[in-house]
Amino acid sequence: MKKKVIIHSNFCKAFTGFGKNKKNILRYLYDTGKYELFELANGLQWEDPRTKLVPWECRGVTPSPAQLAALDAKSRRAEGYGYTLVDKAIKEFKPDVYIGIEDIWAFNNYHHKPWWNKVNCMVWTTLDSLPILPQAIQYAPKIKNYFVWASFAEKAMQEMGYDHVKTLRGSLDTDNFYRMPDEERGKLRSYHGISDEFVIGFVFRNQLRKSVPNLLEGFKQFKSKNPDSKAKLLLHTHWGEGWDIKSLMEEKGIGNMDVLTTYVCNSCSKYYISPFKGQQTDCPSCGSKKSVNTTNTKKGVSEEQLNEIYNLMDVYCHPFTSGGQEIPIQEAKLTELVTLVTNYSCGEDSCSDESGGFALDWSEYREPGTQFIKASTDPNHIHSMLEHVYGMTNEEKSEMGAKSREWVIDNFSVEVIGKKLESIIDNMPDVDYDYETTHKVMDADYNPPEGLNSDEYIVDLYENIVKEGVDRRSTGFKHWKGELAKGMKEEALLTHFKNIAKKHNLDANKPKLEDLLSDDEGKRIAIVIPESETDVLLVNSLLGQLKKNYKQYNIYIFTKPEYFDFIEDNPNTHKILPYKKELDNTFSLEGRGGERGMFEMVFYPSVTTQKNPCYIHNGLSKNQFSLK
């Protein structure tokens, strides 16, 4: 029987690093004919028509925009990565293998899922900085098959004792990038107005983690020391986001003609290389008005065009603060360019001897907030390495370029990565799981047995109250062990764990409404009816009797603004206010214990009709009393 494999990441037709990698490996695995494949696509809804047009079963796992809008920011982020719908997929497809390919925070709380590690679970994630993100470390003992895209992360995790973390690089379709014959390159350069200029290229999304100021400084130094090189810097990026490149050039006294960029026409898709001359210009090719912009995520060049752009360059330089894989470096190597890459994070892989690239020196700085180590690439070293490459003979460059290409094919090609993945999947054991997904409920009533030592006591609380295993190397375990050693009573630790469990189970939010209410404390009734037209209109029909019943009270209606029309004319209302999710907490609104609450009475008529429709009874139920 074929192994059932779920692969969960960006949609395979999305133009993102994750999307391209997923497309490559799914197509590879499909061609083996060995697996029943199921794709889960972040960013698409469950039955999105696009999911029907791939060779394998596919479902979107992101809720609709309306559903997302009803969530708080944290839940919205989690659901964007398919936190809930992945459970539905597991139940429906009953996989042997689940492979999640995303940033590590996409898998937040996955270890709480009842199916986690009951089916073979693999996380294949990008980590970009040191020290390794605490979440990535915290999850290490909970992820049996843990793969990272760059070897520096594997090294760091292994140093912490997590030997099972391995490197599996993101796959590349190596056919799209190659060195064009010299004659063709010459023609191409000439077409774009480049003759004997020394072209230094950088392909990147204009984000602050790309070290543009450092590169400009290094370029400036190189150009002033080597005027004969007629050096040009080709920045294939969007000038309308991130770094203000124009201002940086002015600041450093770099002439406008010395920095080239890529323009693309929205209408005919042709591209042009030229100095920066603003955005929304007219297309010289198709004549479309205001259709030409610097390349960007909405309208970029095709892979074929990008290959041409690499072929315009004499050297590729990629200074950055940190990154997960930095695909343009590999693309540049495939076109047999000599590459200069910051020797940090995933860059370590690309500037080793065997990779056929040169390292750029850097200094450490710390990112505020996260405290992550980030690299500031040394402009002087950029200058000296550019000089070094400029001084190389064509034969030397050619030999190095060929080595670079070979290294990328050996380490990143779909065939190599696909084969490795195939082997990982084939070596996974058979699954014995019933796929009945339920949400984890923590046990706030659990009491541990007597006679446990402190280590066993902590493990027992994790396993039986929080319902998850704990790694004795984890900061959580070490912290509590230290607290017990310092004299904390076991009962106090037990109470703490029970409170966590209660909080987890309640998941309560406290609303803040005071500013919206009149000065009528003690005389307020709220009716919370979030939507929609019919329901609000029907509630409208009840207000006359409600007011008769509670003459001294003011009636507040909470509904979405688009339904105000359906109730606002009723003179029995005091105020119509916009509904917010935080209103779905009866105790906060009516009060409990020491909390006074803002309303004397809060009615949630839609709880039994919309939230949990339990009034329908197939249209058969009867009342023994008249409601008319």
């Binding site: 037709k13 497309k23 197509r27 499909y30 061609d31 047009l53 791939v54 060779p55 394998w56 005919c268 898709s269 095709s302 074929e304 009716i527 037209e533 019919t534 329901d535 609000v536 209109l537 029907l538 509630v539 409208n540 029909s541 009840l542 207000l543 006359g544 009797q545 409600l546 008769k548 019943n549 029309d565 359906f566 109730i567 004319d569 009723n570 003179p571 009615f603 949630y604 008529p605 709880v607 039994t608 009709t609 429709p613 009034y615 329908i616 009874h617 197939n618 249209g619 058969l620 139920s621 009867k622 009342n623 008249s626 409601l627 008319k628």
Partner: protein, 382 residues
């Protein structure tokens, strides 16, 4: 019964009154009119056969000078006299002056009911008992439900599309009844295809036909003459369906008018070079490949990963129908001075023929057909 408003009344512990809404005047030039809800925001409550209903009623309404006003919806339905999109309070005014409301079980039905306007309500995602117009007397309100073969879906999307199982003649007869007319529409509906309302004109490019709409489908797979083909491509926005690949050199001169190309192939067909698709993309021509064999679909989708690949034939099962059944469609095939209502008719040379044909080609286009049987003494034929 367990009506929605009763649930709300129980929750609030009160008896049910009536909603209070200040109607806002909206100018309307008709004295006698019925209103029809055109809202299509909830798929499971969207009835797609109003056009057929209005077709049944047109002579009756005309004779009595009763107009049809559509409230809401993106586009006017065929057969309505006025399409109005306005606020709820304007709509409330229009409903209050109308003779009858027709539509799903929505707020307009409830509002009409609360002010004594007659209602024909069409249910698709819940039982009528639960959300029927609450305040209406039995003689002023008709609720139409599908024959439930499972529980209602109670959601916005109904995979069974139950609402559209309600036959248009039932809706038409309910309207006639509430307007006090005894005669009935005597048509029996057997099938309404899900694309029936979608107008499609297919032209076989063997001769030149003038006066066609701007957009047409060119069936080069049914017949081909270069001169006619080029005429259509130069004078119309076209979607071309062909048996095989059309050379780029041919497409180059007509690329501005070609919206989409569709052609058939199988797993043995020579691989189409990527360059071909790139050039079409640069010309903004969408391409769809049609797999001749169902079994090749996966292979072709993987081979042409970035292109949409669909099965060419759907293999729709035949229906058992009485011999006297007729059909209508909004999808025509035109060739020279002939008009065919299906590919099956085209293949047999049966122009202007609306008899049902029992051939695989006929059933394959079932999504585009309305199939009915005309009884005698009807109000009006379809």
């Amino acid at each position: 019964m367990s009506h929605l408003v009763e649930e709300y009344a129980k929750n609030l512990g009160v008896k049910i009154g009536k909603p209070i809404v200040n109607q806002h005047f909206f100018p309307i030039e008709f004295n006698n009119y019925i209103v029809i809800s055109g809202d299509s925001s909830t798929a499971s409550k969207t009835y797609k056969s109003y056009t057929i209903v209005l077709g049944f009623l047109s002579s009756f309404l005309e004779k009595r000078d009763i107009k049809v006003v559509q409230l809401g919806g993106d586009k006017p339905l065929r057969g309505v006299n006025k399409h109005v999109s306005c606020s709820f309070k304007n709509t409330a005014y229009l409903v209050s002056k109308s003779m009858l409301y027709i539509g799903p079980d929505n707020y307009l039905a409830q509002y009409a009911s609360s002010i004594g306007v007659k209602t024909v309500s069409i249910f698709g995602n819940s039982y009528a008992n639960v959300t029927k117009p609450f305040w209406s007397n039995r003689q002023d309100s008709i609720c139409l439900e599908p024959d439930w073969d499972s529980r209602p879906c109670y959601s916005n999307h109904d995979p069974k599309d139950n609402i559209n199982k309600i036959k248009p003649e039932e809706v038409a007869n309910s309207i006639l009844k509430l307007l006090g007319h005894e005669k009935k529409v005597d048509v029996e509906t057997f099938h309404i295809g899900k694309h029936y309302n979608q107008p499609i004109i297919e032209v076989v490019p063997t001769e030149i036909i003038t006066g066609l709409p701007k957009e047409v489908y060119l069936r080069a797979d049914y017949g081909f003459e270069e001169e006619a083909f080029m005429y259509y491509c130069e004078n119309h926005k076209v979607t071309v369906i062909s048996e095989g690949l059309i050379q780029l050199s041919v497409l180059k001169s007509i690329k501005h008018n070609v919206k989409m190309l569709m052609f058939a192939l199988d797993a043995e067909t020579d691989k189409i070079p990527k360059k071909y698709f790139d050039v079409l993309a640069s010309w903004k021509i969408k391409i769809i490949l049609l797999s001749e064999k169902e079994s090749d679909l996966g292979v072709l989708r993987n081979r042409y990963f970035d292109v949409d690949v669909h099965p060419r034939y759907k293999g729709v099962e035949r229906m058992e129908l009485p011999d006297s059944c007729k059909f209508s469609t909004n999808k025509y095939i035109l060739e020279a001075d002939k008009k065919y209502f299906s590919y099956a008719h085209y293949k047999k040379g049966l122009d202007n023929d609306n008899n049902v044909l029992d051939t695989p080609e006929y059933w394959d286009e079932l999504d585009h057909f309305y199939i009915y049987e005309q009884k005698e003494n009807s109000e009006k034929s379809s």
